[in-house]
């Protein structure tokens, strides 16, 4: 054995090993990463991504009652849907519903959060009360309001009669039904919205208020100049979540009005449900589901894009 060989080997081999070890390591960490992510990815694939594409696929077909495709109809389901007065009514009601619920929920919840953010004795009790509707399910809340809106024995008509006004068919009058469902929804969402906004308020640095106090700023000045701007990321989040939730409304409708009277409360998810699972028109129902998906998609993208730029972050 000569002396130079081992010398050469010892300088070359480690380098080659280093590369291959690195590659092996990379494959190993990749495999490990996938292993940790696999359960989530698998379930997202089966119950979210695949169904989404299947919905798109179904929307180009007619189906039988079992949901198997029968005839390819191209865009016919979409064309039929956009020409249908029932779908127009459904879209109109859905957007009206968003308009009724979102600003009101946020204004009331913000009012409650500002009140409950004061350092007063017993404030914890009030916070608990304001949060409480978060623990009340859609079914229970709807049953509560079904009674409150009851035409003859209901609490609200009782008050109306007491002050000498005529009672209202809250859930049977096409003029009022959507408003009644909106009121129920606002009440239901109050707890969650309040809790998030209160969290946002509490994370504002108290130093800002102290220095404003030194300058002798008024309560409303502080509210307008410190609280609202500092709260804007939270507000923005809450607005998007409330809008998305409003588009997904189902339970209240199912218990309070079943989409009636005259389809005035036939919001989009209820419309999809009825088309698919009572009329067994899975093709047209899928076309509606795609519309819902596109709306939510746009909302989420707006949240991501605008949320970063237009909102004041700390």
């Amino acid at each position: 054995m000569n002396m130079s060989n081992p010398m050469i080997e010892s300088t070359e081999i480690p380098e080659i090993n280093y590369e291959s070890v690195k590659r092996k390591q990379r494959i190993r960490t990749f495999a490990k990463g996938m292993l940790f992510l696999l359960p989530s990815l698998l379930l997202f694939g089966v119950f979210l991504f695949y169904p989404l594409f299947k919905t798109l696929y179904l929307s180009f077909f007619l189906t039988n009652a079992r949901g198997e495709t029968t005839v390819f109809v191209g865009l016919q389901n979409y064309l039929g849907m956009f020409a249908s007065p029932i779908f127009h009514q459904s879209m109109k009601s859905t957007f009206l519903f968003v308009l009724y619920t979102v600003p009101t929920t946020i204004i009331i919840a913000l009012f409650l959060a500002v009140l409950a953010n004061e350092k007063l004795k017993g404030i914890g009790f009030f916070r608990t009360i304001f949060t409480s509707t978060m623990g009340i399910s859609v079914a229970a809340a709807s049953v509560f309001w079904l009674y409150l809106f009851h035409p003859s024995i209901g609490f609200i008509n009782g008050i109306l009669e007491m002050i000498g006004m005529e009672s209202i068919g809250w859930l049977t009058d096409p003029k009022w039904a959507l408003i009644a469902v909106a009121v129920t929804t606002i009440w239901m969402n109050l707890g969650f919205t309040f809790l998030v906004l209160l969290g946002g308020l509490q994370s504002i640095d108290s130093y800002l208020y102290e220095s404003a106090d030194i300058d002798g700023a008024s309560y409303f000045y502080k509210l307008r100049r410190i609280t609202i701007p500092m709260l804007s990321p939270t507000l923005f989040f809450v607005i998007t979540v409330t809008i998305i939730n409003a588009f997904q409304t189902f339970g209240q409708i199912d218990i309070l009005t079943q989409g009636g009277p005259q389809n005035t409360t036939n919001l989009i998810v209820y419309s999809i449900y009825r088309e698919a699972f009572t009329n067994y028109q899975f093709g047209t129902a899928s076309a509606q589901a795609i519309v819902l998906f596109v709306i939510i998609l746009i909302m989420t993208i707006i949240q991501f894009k605008l949320g970063e730029r237009k909102v004041h972050y700390q």
């Binding site: 119950f47 695949y50 409950a116 409480s132």
Partner: protein
Amino acid sequence: MTMPISKKILFYFLLSISALVVFAPALLAFVMSFMDNKDIMTGSLPQSLSFDNYIKAFEQFPLLKYLLNSFIVAIAITIGQLILSSLAAYAFVFLEFKGRDLLFFLFIATMMVPFEASIIPNFHIIRDLGWIDQYPGLTVPFFATAFGTFLLRQNFKQIPKELREASQIAGMGDFKFYLKVVLPVAKTSLVTLGAYGFLTSWNMYLWPLLSTTNDTVRTVQIGLKQLQTQEQLNDWGVIMSGAIIVIIPTMILLFLGQKQLQKGLTEGAIK
């Protein structure tokens, strides 16, 4: 911060009025659940209070069975979500591998797909798996959650990377590190996510309505709907007692975990 007494009184006044208005629907239902049906129908103040409505509700409806089903479903979903999202969050924080950012984007993308938009094929999948009226059909589709993953990821990020390096030198593998170090450190976040998961799955409505056709796995929310539609006599006392029973577990959870939830929701949501 001291407040002048007049301002204090104003605040307490506003707080009390608001609390009364917000709590009135639940309070009325609570009182009605103890009232005689005659008193409810005539709108008079309760002449007598009793547990009769509750006894009736339990006797006429398999409420106990529904409650048990709801507990099984909600606990299964909670545990499933905790396991899956903590595993995923671990990968996103501690493992560096090619394609991680792409997968992270995929997780974000799931938030753009409302479950309602994919409910038709989902129903067919469950049916073809034979999972209608089965616990897996009610629970498995909800195990994976992007929200939970983000919430825990936020928390895991606060664990110093040096800790992982030190454990690597000590020869600790990733799974052991996840189990022995990360999970115990992130206990409060896990509790928050658990409470939130339980709350939302206990309150689920549309999916249990579709995926149950009989009493075997039917949850209490759908049971309440049945109670409400089948009470032909409009026995509001019984209906309200059913609704009160439905909200008791979540109300207790909310009262206990309010502070936790508030912190967790704002953290997971904003950052």
